[in-house]
Subunit: 348 residues, 2 copies
């Protein structure tokens, strides 16, 4: 029984025309079409015209999947980050995209949602697509799963946080130094009981910022009460509860150092409802920080620059730069706006 439906040509991408179709219509050979499409020399103007006519008539567009298969380079890079919706990652993403564009590459994007399994799944999916390189803001604490990929030549640069248990290029902010400066700033304004609310301790940046806090306190000879430190998820509920408990407990804090932009925003909200002024410094700058009252003092890191630096490093590797994995650390900047300059209120 002849089965018309079970034809030997199952899909053809929704019956898109191929170079073969164009060649047939133009009455030329397959390779000639390829030459025209790719602007290769050695085609008579007349032949070229015929081919171009056939291309527009058929609505042909080169199938890059086939091209990639043949050429071995995909001209695309992958970016895995925590959450595209986080205002910190928007500019970073965009910067990576701009660099990619300048190198003629497309960007494939994915959010890990801070879940190591999801990060790995995404990264491996990107490797299966044979992206030329990867920019990763890691969520996991073990990146050995990347070893075969690195060995196979997938260039990889980590941003914001370093890779764990493998050697790889990384571009980081000086979290430790920034935090130390932030806390020193509070101490300089007379604070002795300073709280720190940060992200989960497994996250490198959170750990570094905590270290900066501890160092600044130690350098000033100040004791740190364990109840002044709270690390964990940065959802408003948890952060709000942590802040309130530090403010309302015995020996309440007079200043708060917020470990990232999510925490800062919640802290601003909590403090806005208070009568006694509490000093605040936040890690990460954010839009309108200067227009709140008091304006929020922050440690600014340049997200776009992080992204740009990482992407440029990636393309240097792709262009053949060899050598040991490098770690670049970008400086942070304390922007004093007022909220960090509030002196400790007399709580006698």
């Amino acid at each position: 029984m002849a089965d018309a439906a079970g034809s030997p040509v199952p899909h053809r991408y929704g019956n898109r025309p191929t170079m073969k179709d164009v060649a047939a219509r133009a009455g030329v050979g397959l390779k000639t079409v390829s030459r025209v499409v790719n602007g290769e020399p050695g085609v008579t103007p007349d032949t070229e015209r015929r081919v171009r006519e056939a291309i527009t008539a058929l609505g042909f567009r080169r199938n890059d999947s086939a091209r990639i298969l043949r050429k071995g380079r995909t001209a695309s890079i992958g970016l895995v980050l925590e959450d595209l919706a986080d205002p910190f990652y928007g500019p970073l993403s965009r910067a990576v995209e701009e660099v990619a564009r300048a190198h003629g590459a497309l960007l494939i994007n994915g959010s890990s949602a801070e879940d190591p399994a999801r990060e790995q799944e995404l990264v491996l999916a990107l490797c299966a697509r044979r992206v030329d390189g990867l920019v990763i803001i890691p969520a996991g604490e073990d990146h050995r799963y990347l070893e075969p990929e690195l060995a196979a030549g997938v260039a990889t640069v980590f941003v914001d946080r370093p890779a764990a248990r493998i050697e790889a290029d990384a571009v980081l902010s000086d979290c430790f130094g920034g935090s130390r400066a932030a806390v020193a700033h509070l101490i300089a304004h007379g604070h002795r009981r300073i709280g720190f609310i940060g992200d989960r301790p497994g996250i490198h940046t959170a750990a570094e910022r905590l270290r900066g806090y501890r160092t600044a306190m130690a350098e000033a000879g100040l004791p740190v009460d364990p109840s002044w430190i709270s690390l964990g998820p940065t959802d408003p509920d948890r952060v709000g509860a942590a802040a309130r408990s530090m403010l309302d407990g015995p020996g309440p804090i007079t200043a708060l150092f917020a470990g990232n932009n999510r925490v800062t925003v919640t802290a601003v909200r909590v403090l806005a409802g208070r009568t006694l002024p509490v000093a605040l410094v936040g890690f990460d700058d954010f839009e309108l920080a200067d227009l709140l009252s008091p304006a929020v003092t922050v440690v600014a890191q340049d997200a776009a620059r992080l992204g740009r630096t990482a992407a440029e490093m990636l393309f240097r590797r792709l262009d053949g730069a060899a050598g040991e994995p490098r770690r670049v650390e970008l400086p942070t900047r304390l922007i004093a706006r007022g909220s960090g300059e509030i002196p400790p209120a007399d709580r006698g």
Copy 2:
């Protein structure tokens, strides 16, 4: 002269092992490896074990480029938006990504930077990659270039702004209604001289918001002085100058309606430096709007919902949903917070 370098195998993706290599090492046929990799039935446990061992030993990972070429579906969708760094598009992007993920698809991302040529370039690059579908926030005013792609079966949904000169699915916010409500709100609080600063008039949302403004004014029987309206790029310099000229000219405005989040932010900055209070309503909600003083009244649209709705519509099309192009309009919501309730100051 035998030339070792000019081997007939030029690249092999940095010498990654292929199924052939795995098959050779495991001592089985090519197709058997394929079966194991894809979890197809018909492989004895013992054979499967041998294959898996070879896979890990060689660090094999399936080449999805070849798979895509063969299968005709890429399991990826493209998202073209204006600027990934704009806080409005972050959540939208993320929502599209989540839906894509739920359907097992990857997201390829690009920013048009509000440049029609760049939009087209990006879209066509994505089509060449044979993305299964496209979500587009259009920058251009003529999308006929998409016709061959649509005819070839690339599902396409426009978001935030409709397609121009072609018929296509679209998910929009009710800009007209939202703006009308915003301006009516200002009028209800006693304002008669209300300014509008918006994006370039070629942008659909900007035009709709202007229409809402005009309609509300007309419905209240209020005249509109041309100097109260300013459309153009939303960079702080232009918006700031426009706002100042409306505030300082003859017959100064007593209230301002800001056409999008970029404009609102600049407006807040300008108004913060003023002594006479000026009422303000902004289109688009933004973080911390409630903590400014006065808190900023806004027309909120749900960016994540826009993205989600569009992506779901896209996948319904991919799953075979036929029919005429649909246009969905999502409601907006006026959130009164104070800045819109400032009565007009006595400027006698």
